[in-house]
């Protein structure tokens, strides 16, 4: 396998995963300016739901994916109604602290229920292994991941660009006060978007288990990557998140592959340089 292709392929799959994990946060941040650091706790919840359903109850892998989506979305609705809605007008710092508190609690709860070990996950046989096509080697699961992420991206873009709901979301991201003035119920809109975004994170978490593993520190480790994607991509921009996730995913994998000595710092370096060049992100407008 030519290494360039392999690195690109792996980086692409990793980038797709980052995109699924972060797109919800990008849209909700863009709409309400609410800094939700607990976003990856929803992803972690999705991962644990999948693991539990498969290992304990013997559900098939595909059936667990919608369950992960629904569980994360439901949990996010509860938290949004109980805590987050009081903090939409609070400062960045208070929002950060509230949601970091939730991250801590979720990590401890996961450690309490599941222990701190990596969770085992046995993929169905048709998703394992790899095949060779036109002289290039494809890992089936990564291909599957890329396909799912592409389908979701297309659905998201189509939904945002051409439905009434999507138009309202775009209006609220662009100018929340003006959208309210036009009679759009931004609060309800936001609650729905928030649930959808968290559900996508849950799905991302479920898909991540087989690729990067799952333990209680997931909520923190991937939070950092997700924040990087969101801040580099620009708030509220789906295209921006997609581009940023690809750049960061590929540069992370390429860095670890070609220059292992500095590989793990490359992603931070890329982020700092991109942010210094464009503080509002690649596609940010405000």
């Amino acid at each position: 396998m030519p290494p360039v292709f392999g690195v690109l392929f792996d980086g692409l799959a990793y980038g797709m995963l980052l995109f699924l994990l972060s797109v919800g946060l990008s849209v909700t941040l863009g709409m309400m300016n609410f800094v939700n650091l607990a976003h990856c706790s929803f992803a972690m919840l999705g991962g644990y739901v999948t693991v539990t359903l498969m290992n304990t109850l013997g559900w098939p892998f595909f059936a667990t994916l919608p369950a992960a989506f629904v569980a994360a979305a439901a949990a996010s609705v509860v938290l949004e109604r109980v805590f987050f809605r009081r903090f939409y007008r609070a400062s960045d710092l208070e929002q950060c602290l509230l949601t970091i508190g939730i991250v801590f609690v979720s990590i401890a709860a996961a450690a309490y229920i599941y222990g701190t070990d990596q969770q085992p996950l046995q993929l169905p046989s048709y998703l394992r292994g790899s095949f060779t096509f036109a002289g290039l080697n494809f890992a089936v699961y990564r291909l599957f991941l890329i396909a799912i992420a592409l389908v979701i991206t297309i659905a998201l873009v189509a939904g945002i660009e051409s439905t009434r709901f999507g138009a309202q979301v775009r209006a609220a991201v662009n100018n929340q006060r003006m959208a309210r003035g036009l009679g759009i119920n931004v609060d309800v809109l936001f609650a729905i978007t928030f649930a959808l975004g968290s559900g996508l994170a849950g799905l991302g978490g479920a898909l991540a288990v087989a690729m990067v593993g799952l333990d209680p520190s997931f909520a923190f480790t991937y939070l950092i990557y997700v924040l990087i994607v969101v801040s580099v991509g620009g708030l509220g921009s789906i295209a921006g998140s997609f581009a940023a996730a690809m750049v960061l995913g590929i540069s992370d994998i390429a860095g670890k592959y070609y220059v292992p000595a500095v590989g793990s710092m490359l992603i931070y370096l890329v982020m700092i340089v991109l942010l210094m060049w464009r503080p509002l992100g690649l596609f940010g407008r405000r």
Binding site: D92, L93, L97, I100, G101, A108, A111, Y112, M276
Partner: protein, 329 residues
């Protein structure tokens, strides 16, 4: 307060800088561990170090509005500088402290040029990124730092050649407390100077300060460098008193912990970080005695409770309480 005379700002600053009874009692109370809980002096010295670190964060967060999720970077630079000096055969604590402070200060000065240009989310992410970057650098430069095994072979000489670092932490606590007090005095003087007022102006409205002729970015760079220096001193103290340095001194966890301590105590009050550090460290000591694995459950709950119920921290809640009690009669 006298209204619109020329001397009013000066009078205001003079009134601010006067020592209050509560402050004197607070500092006398820091001597209590020597008498009441001599077996906890090691913990007390850890508290003093954390308090110093939280104080340095308060200078930029509480007084200048710079939210940093990567303040451990400067703490780590100080810790590694002091640790390496000692490892290379110069274990004299005070000069080691000065050199570590200089190293952290220089690093703070260099990075302050980046910091001063940004606000909001980009700022949070850049501070976070710098600290994570530095941690990765320290991790991969294992020939220098010992990597994930930590820095081995640190030995701190007795202070002034006389006071050895004992097992019970007498020297460690005295040393940390003395430095905390001295640096607190410096910070207090800075905050109650015209420069300190300008910082608060930047915190309240960063866009208007340039309009009245304040050199906003230069002020931010100055206070950021000062805060980095103090964080470096705190790191060096930790390295010298515990005689170990691990990668954890640069970690995100440490940046998050110090933020929690400061918020818990209350920002922008100088004492907030000190009180927060004491409460946090004592609570962690107690809870981890029960079940170390779930400490973060409690700290998470505390955070949520503080943000929901005490938005200005413990000290903010206290001052609200005393003000209400005064108004009642």
């Amino acid at each position: 307060m006298s209204g619109d005379t020329i001397g009013a700002p000066r009078d205001y600053l003079q009134a601010q800088i006067r020592w209050r009874w509560g402050e004197i009692v607070f500092w006398l109370a820091t001597l209590l561990p020597f008498v009441l809980t001599p077996s906890y002096l090691v913990l007390a010295s850890q508290i003093a170090i954390s308090a110093l670190f939280a104080l340095s964060l308060d200078l930029i967060l509480g007084f200048c509005g710079i939210v940093s999720l990567g303040h451990a970077a400067y703490f780590g630079v100080g810790a590694y500088t002091a640790g390496l000096l000692s490892k290379w055969g110069w274990g004299e604590p005070l000069s080691g402290l000065v050199i570590a402070a200089l190293a952290a200060g220089v690093f703070g000065y260099l990075t302050s040029f980046i910091i001063a240009r940004f606000r909001h989310l980009a700022l949070i992410m850049i501070t976070l990124g710098l600290a994570l970057l530095l941690q990765e650098v320290a991790n991969s430069a294992s020939w220098l730092t010992g990597g994930s095994d930590g820095l081995q072979g640190i030995h701190t000489w007795p202070i002034f050649g006389r006071f050895r670092f004992d097992l019970f932490g007498y020297t460690a606590y005295s040393y940390s407390l003395a430095l905390l007090f001295i640096i607190f005095l410096v910070a207090r003087r800075i905050i109650h100077s015209p420069f300190g007022l300008a910082l608060r102006g930047i915190r309240e409205n960063g866009a208007r300060m340039p309009a009245i002729g304040a050199a906003t970015r230069a002020h931010v760079r100055t206070i950021y460098t000062i805060a980095a220096t103090i964080a470096g001193i705190a790191g060096a103290l930790l390295a010298q008193t515990t005689e170990t340095v691990s990668l954890e001194v640069l970690g995100f966890q440490r940046s998050a912990d110090v933020l929690v301590m400061l918020i818990l105590g209350g920002t922008g009050r100088l004492y907030g970080g000190l009180v927060g550090a004491a409460v946090y460290m004592v609570a962690r000591d107690q809870f981890s005695g029960l079940n170390p694995q779930y400490w973060y459950f409690w700290i998470g709950l505390i955070l949520i409770a503080v943000v929901l119920l005490l938005p200005n921290g413990i000290l903010g809640g206290l001052s609200l309480f005393t003000r209400r009690a005064k108004e009642k009669p």
